[in-house]
Symmetry: C2
Subunit: 342 residues, 2 copies
DNA sequence: TTGTAGGCGTTATCAT
DNA sequence: ATGATAACGCCTACAA
C-alpha cells in the first residue's frame, strides 16, 4: 500500500494538516517543521492520492483530446502539441478516437468525459447541434481545433483557410498556370472545405482566370480518394496544367494517378497540396504545399483550454494560426519557358 | 453540480445502498425497485463519481501508453490498437511521449503514473535497469510493445525480428540480388537492430552470398538519417543492386538519395523496407517491405495488459505477431533478364 | 503556527 | 431484499 498523509504525519510527528499544508501552502508552515516533513515525504515516497483530492476538489488534472483518428498524421501532430502543453501544466491527456462517429462520441462522453475531465479539445467533425448540446451538458471548457463553432461561437484555433487557399491558388497562377483543377474535400464536410473552395475561387476570379464547377471535383480527404478523384478531374479537364488539392493526402493520391498515366510531376502537371504533412517532404519530388503549423495549433488549443480551466468564467478568444507556402518540387514555373512544356 | 447517489436515492425513495446495488449487482435488487431506480437514474442523468469509486477501490480505469513520439506513424498506429481494446473495456488511455528521454520518463512516472493508473504499456526504448526498477516500483502490470525485456523477462508483444529480417533478405536473394547493402538502425539501440542484423546476415550466409561489415551502414531510424546513410552505403558499395533498410522511414530516405543520384528504383537499384507504414504504399513506386501488423501489436499488448489487470497474480505470456512480406514496386527480379539491367 | 474535525461520493459489510 | 454505517485519503474552515 502506498503511504498516506497519515503515515507521513506520524513519522514526522506532526498533524496531517501540516503535511497537507506543506504541499498546498508551504509558506504557512514553520521552516523546521516544513523541512522535517519534506524529508519524511522523500523517505516514504509519499504522493497525494489523486482520487482523494479529486473527490474533494472535483478536479482530475486530465483533459481529453477528441480527434477522428490518431493514425492520421495531421491529428497525431496536433496531439503532440496538446500533450506538450499539458505536460508542462502537469496535466494528462486522454485520447478519444471518435472515428467521426456519433455513437462512439456518445460512448466516450458517457463513460469517460462525464467521469470528470477538466477540459476538452475537440478536433473531429463539423460541430452540429448534437455536439454543441453535449458540450454544454459537460459543463467544462471546450476548445475547437481546426474546426469552427459556426452559429455557436465556441472558441477555436485554426488557420485562415480562405486566405491560405487563396494564397495557394495565387501561387499557381503566378507560376503561369491557368488551367487549375481543384480537388476539394467532401461537400458535406463544410469546414474547411467551404473556405478552401472559396479561397480558390476568389483567387481565380481576382486574377481573371476562368473558373467553374468544371474545374472542381469532390472526394474524401484521403490518399485513396485523392487517387480516384484525380481520375475524374483528368477526365473533365484533360488539358489541366496544375492540380490543387485541399489536403496533402489527396494531393499525393493524385500524384500516384498521374504517375500511372505516364504524366510526370511537375513536368507535365504541377501539384499543390494543403497541410504540409511530414510525408510531403519524403516523396520525390517533395510536395509544394500550404503549411499549417499543426503542432502550433495543438499547442495553442491547449493553452487556450488551460486559460479556460484556470479561470472558468473567462471568455476564450479564438486564435488564428499563420500559414505559409512551402515550395518544394511539384510546381513548375511555366513562365520560364522550358524545352518540354505541355 | 452533478447528481449523487443520494439524490437518486431520495428521488426514488430507497436507500443509497439500493442504488449502488442497481449498479454493481442488479440481480440482488427486487424487480420493481430496480426499475424505479433505473428510471430515476435516467431522469437525473446520474453516473457514479469515479473519484469516489477510485478512492474506495484503488482503480482508475486508466492505462498509460508510453511511446517515444506520436508523430511517428509507427507508434500512432500502435496507439490506435491499444485505444481500441481500452475503449471496449471502458478504460481510458493516457499518452506519454517520452521522446526517448529518461528525465521526461521520470516526470511522467512521478506526476502521473504514480497517481494511479491501472496498467502500463511501454513501447519506448531499450529496457535498462533504470526502467525496470521504475516499473517495479509502480507495482502495476507492465507490457512491452515492440521491444523486449532482455534479462528481466517482462512480457512483450512483438514480431520475430530475426525471422522477418531473414525473410526480407531471402526475398531479395530469390530475386537475383547478391550485392545487397543493409542500412541498420543505430547500434546503440539493441532492439530491434541486433535481431534484424542477425536475420540479414544469416540469410546471406545460408544462401552463400558473401557478406561483411562492408555491406552495412548504421543510422538513426528516420527519413533524414536514411538519406544520409544511403550516401555512405553507396560510397562503400557502388555496385550494389539492392538496399535493405531496417525501417521504412530509412528506406524512403534512401530512395530520395538514389533518386537524386539519377538512379531509378527499381530499375537500377531495388529497395526493401521494414514496417509497412501507411505512407509506404503512397509513394511511387510503392515500397516493398516487411509488414508488421502494428495495429495488432497494440491490440495484443492491450489485451495482455488487461489480462494482467484483471488477474493480478497471473504470469503474462509474451506474444509474437506474424509478419508478412508486402510486394509492391521497389524490388526488381533480376532473374527475369530485362533490357536495361545494371 | 499548528491541530481537530467534517465532508467529498462510493461501496461493502453487517444487521434487519 | 433492503437499509445503516464505516472507510477510502485529502483538504480546509475553524479552534486553539
Amino acid at each position: 500500500m502506498n503511504p498516506t498523509i497519515h503515515d507521513v504525519a506520524k513519522q514526522a510527528n506532526v498533524s496531517i494538516s501540516t503535511v497537507s499544508r506543506v504541499f498546498n501552502n508551504p509558506d504557512s508552515v514553520g521552516k523546521e517543521m516544513r523541512e522535517r516533513v519534506l524529508q519524511v515525504i522523500e523517505e516514504l515516497g509519499y504522493a497525494p492520492n489523486p482520487f482523494a483530492s479529486g473527490l474533494r476538489d472535483n478536479r482530475s488534472m486530465v483533459i481529453v483530446a477528441m480527434i477522428p483518428d490518431i493514425r492520421n498524421s495531421y491529428y497525431a501532430e496536433m496531439l503532440s502539441g496538446i500533450e506538450e502543453v499539458a505536460l508542462s501544466k502537469r496535466y494528462n491527456v486522454i485520447i478519444c478516437n471518435t472515428i467521426q462517429n456519433e455513437e462512439r462520441f456518445l460512448e466516450y462522453v458517457k463513460y469517460f468525459v462525464k467521469k470528470k475531465v477538466d477540459g476538452l479539445i475537440f478536433a473531429s467533425t463539423e460541430i452540429t447541434e448534437f455536439y454543441k448540446k453535449n458540450f454544454d451538458a459537460l459543463n467544462i471548457p471546450v476548445v475547437l481545433a481546426s474546426t469552427e463553432g459556426r452559429a455557436w461561437d465556441l472558441p477555436s484555433v485554426r488557420v485562415d483557410d480562405v486566405q491560405a487557399s487563396y494564397d495557394a491558388t495565387t501561387f499557381l497562377i503566378n507560376n503561369g498556370h491557368q488551367e487549375i483543377g481543384f480537388i476539394s474535400g467532401p461537400s458535406h464536410l463544410l469546414v474547411p472545405n467551404v473556405q478552401r473552395y472559396e479561397g480558390y475561387r476568389k483567387a481565380m476570379q481576382d486574377h481573371q482566370v476562368p473558373v467553374s464547377e468544371q474545374h472542381v471535383v469532390y472526394a474524401e480527404m484521403t490518399f485513396d480518394a485523392g487517387y480516384e478523384a484525380m481520375s475524374r478531374l483528368y477526365a473533365k479537364m484533360p488539358h489541366l496544367t496544375a492540380v490543387y488539392a485541399a489536403s496533402d493526402a489527396m494531393a499525393i493520391g493524385a500524384m500516384k494517378f498521374l504517375h500511372e498515366q505516364g504524366l510526370e510531376v511537375p513536368r507535365h502537371v504541377s501539384v499543390m497540396g494543403f497541410d504540409n504533412l511530414e510525408l510531403s517532404r519524403m516523396i520525390s519530388p517533395g510536395l509544394t504545399t500550404v503549411a499549417q503549423n499543426i503542432y502550433e495549433i495543438g499547442k495553442s488549443a491547449g493553452e487556450l483550454l488551460f486559460q479556460g480551466i484556470e479561470n472558468r468564467d473567462q471568455d476564450l478568444q479564438s486564435v488564428t494560426i499563420a500559414h505559409e507556402i512551402i515550395v518544394r518540387g511539384t510546381v513548375r514555373n511555366r513562365r520560364l519557358k522550358s524545352d518540354s512544356e505541355r
